[in-house]
Subunit: 464 residues, 2 copies
């Protein structure tokens, strides 16, 4: 054993896993040192990129890393926006799950066993053919993975009605300290035995261990959808409209918000005929039985008419698609305005929205920045985008300072610094504020129970 220990740690990984699973080329190592985080962050070149193909591979690699004190940086599709997948230690390894892509659906039980590397969209397409539904829809869903979604507890527009990723994870199989495996939960909807380790693991951003399999809950696929567009002359009315809808017995499957600058950006990019003079708009989607959605979307129109809000109901699938395209074009549209973009996913209790939006605009004005706001208003999750010129370092710094004030504003309203993107590297400093000292100490204690050597995604989420 001593002889083995003397060996170069990477050599040990290669002999444990086989060289086809351990890539040490500098090109690969540089490639896997990035994720989609838009702002400059600390980043190290890993000493290898590992591609496990089974749980056994994951156990072996964690055993070696734990003996050799090698930091482990797990990675899904690298589409995260807070640096969660970025290696931060020179001697670390990136573990990419792109080869663990098998899954198995149990239709009768409406559950599925899924490996972390499965692309969320592929999985959704498969289960929908079976009449089932896996709702979580982060905007990255076409390329991001189930493992990454679970690590970040990903959400999206549909989470207003259907809840975030956490609500669909019934159990996990993971490898923690020293290569030990834990199996939590079962392919059942109800299980109240013991503390909820499953939900603790969801959203832990790879800091507690490596996920090797998840048992997911599936629900019946809605039969139909209907979409409407509501145009607002004042921000106050937006909040009123949301309450009116949510207390009418109608449960929208999406309530998407765009402010005037977002509307303008989209129309300047690829016009779909949105009125540039509107103060804000809501995209409203309901789902359910064919008759119910027709009925309910008309009901929504009636409810908002009482508030003097104009509502256009999409009369065809094409019209609905056109509206959703406008929403989806926001990303590229903003990229079109400036070279740099910071997109922060803060959350406000939605009652404070009308009050908070002007304050957000004040922050933009203070730092003389172009700001665009859109997001999932039903759950108060706003995407605040500061746009800047990447070649202009001074403007970039202004944008970063502005973001800090945005976080402070969200917390001052009992909101959150992140509704979807996670903490990762970029939001670490705000976590203690959100949890308080006692709560923060508990987070640390939990981290050390799973990972006493702090080797799983070290430096992310919490400071030990």
């Amino acid at each position: 054993m001593l002889g083995v220990l003397k060996k170069d740690p990477i050599k040990r990984l290669i002999s444990a896993l086989g060289k086809e699973k351990v890539n040490t080329s500098i090109v690969e190592r540089k490639l896997y040192s990035y994720d989609a985080t838009p702002i400059p962050i600390e980043r190290a070149i890993p000493s290898a990129v590992i591609f496990p193909e089974s749980r056994e591979d994951v156990i072996k690699l964690v055993e070696v890393c734990y003996e050799e004190n090698i930091p482990i940086f797990p990675r899904g599709a690298g589409s995260g926006l807070t640096g969660g997948a970025v290696p931060t230690r020179e001697n670390g390894v990136v573990v990419s799950f792109e080869r663990m892509t098998s899954f198995e659906v149990d239709v009768d039980n409406a559950t599925a066993k899924v490996q972390p590397g499965v692309v969320t969209y592929d999985f959704q397409q498969h289960v929908e053919k079976l009449g089932l539904f896996y709702p979580p829809d982060p905007s990255s869903f076409k390329y991001s993975t189930i493992g990454g979604n679970i690590a970040e507890n990903a959400g999206g527009p549909r989470c207003l009605k259907y809840g975030v990723t956490r609500e669909y994870v019934l159990g996990i199989e993971a490898v923690i300290k020293e290569g030990k495996t834990i199996k939590t939960g079962n392919p059942i909807l109800k299980d109240v035995a013991g503390y909820d380790i499953t939900k603790l693991f969801v959203g832990s951003e790879g800091t507690l261990g490596l996920l090797t399999e998840a048992t997911l809950k599936l629900i019946p696929k809605p039969q139909a959808r209907a979409t409407a567009l509501a145009l607002f002359k004042s921000l106050e009315d937006v909040g009123k409209a949301v309450t009116r809808i949510m207390t009418s017995g109608i449960f929208p499957s999406a309530l998407e918000f765009m402010d005037r600058d977002a509307i303008k950006a989209v129309e300047d990019y690829k016009p779909v005929g949105l009125p540039k003079d509107a103060e804000a708009l809501l995209l409203i989607e309901v789902d359910g039985s064919k008759t119910a959605v027709k009925e309910q979307i008309e009901e929504v129109k009636g409810l908002l008419a009482q508030l003097g809000v104009e509502v256009k109901v999409a009369q065809s699938e094409e019209e609905a698609q056109k509206l959703w395209t406008a929403r989806k074009n926001l990303g590229p549209a903003l990229g079109n305005l400036k070279t740099g973009k910071i997109n922060e996913d803060i959350v406000f209790p939605r009652t404070y929205l009308a009050e908070a939006l002007p304050k957000l605009r004040k922050i933009a004005k203070k730092y003389d920045l172009l700001m665009v706001i859109f997001g999932h208003i039903g759950d108060g999750n706003l995407h605040v985008n500061f746009l800047y010129d990447k070649t202009d370092k001074e403007e970039e710094e202004r944008a970063e300072r502005a973001v800090d004030e945005v976080f402070e504003l969200a917390l001052s309203y009992h909101g959150s610094i992140t509704g979807e993107h996670g903490v990762g590297l970029t939001k670490k400093k705000f976590l203690r504020w959100q949890f308080g000292d006692t709560g923060y100490e508990l987070l640390k204690g939990i981290k050390l129970l799973f990972d006493p050597k702090n080797l799983f995604n070290p430096g992310k989420v919490i400071e030990l």
Copy 2:
């Protein structure tokens, strides 16, 4: 301080809280040493019953108890079935939250702040008047409390569609070791900052600390409901029927199962005209818009007709109520058959149901016991009831041995030992089996982070 420490600990509690909040009468102490657990369990008479009226009271009492090493046994309505609220140490105190019953609903934000002593039914009635909905519906909901429901992560028939209590707890305020307070979550639906302490606390059965307030999520109240009764000649068809429904785009709000003995028991108790010759029946409920529920319940009828299953749709609210009354009468009906009843809420992946039911009957036969099975088939949560004569100790012991085999059977099918009732005292010995050694060690570690002196509900859930 030393002088204070010399004082009788109960005197310290009285001087800290006032004597009107600390009851030491033997009558009261004996009264509060019971809960609804049907089988004999270890039970101690507490040295006092404490009635906090505010978070400040709770902090004070925990501070004293932590200094004086007084075990704390939190209590909601005492309707638990696994001994969770029963004091197990002579020198302990019971903490009853029956005086902390205020709550505040934020309609615009669709959330509520609730004290632990609020009765679930009262809260539900209130929010439904506002067009909102709090779904968790344990059968005790008319008297059990939000605090108790959160401690046990309570569920009921509606949880098939709406999820268990956990899904509705957005944040908690709790008092842990040394009287320290933690505040987690916010009145927002999305918050992915840090590890999910909120969900860890839900279902922890009072072993991590004392809940002082919960922030709950509310959803739109469904506009209408419809109920149907499906009669089965074979158990195999039950599973097939559930799959057929769940893959049809219809999401039932309840799928309740009764086996032949359950049907017979109800009909012998208060006849509602259920056919005693049926092998099993399903009560099917859908909710949503008025037209949708009519449409969907007929659709269900059509789907099951294809399987040769007879379905009777309730044509009026009265007819529907009659069917649900039959279901609700099961409890008393069973009480009518024998003096003693053990009701265990095991969970099977529902696919194994047809296979598992005969095995359950075999267990009943082996121990020569009268067994009745009903439950929430949609999520595989079965209530297995062994009936016995309380005066017949030998039969009672047979019943307890039979329960052990039932748990083993559930676990052998990757099920759970409890879907609703929790672990408490009665299911402790099975928890290590369900979690494995590594998982069990994590549970212990978590317990000690919140409660290093093991004073919060000691001896429940896990053995340290």
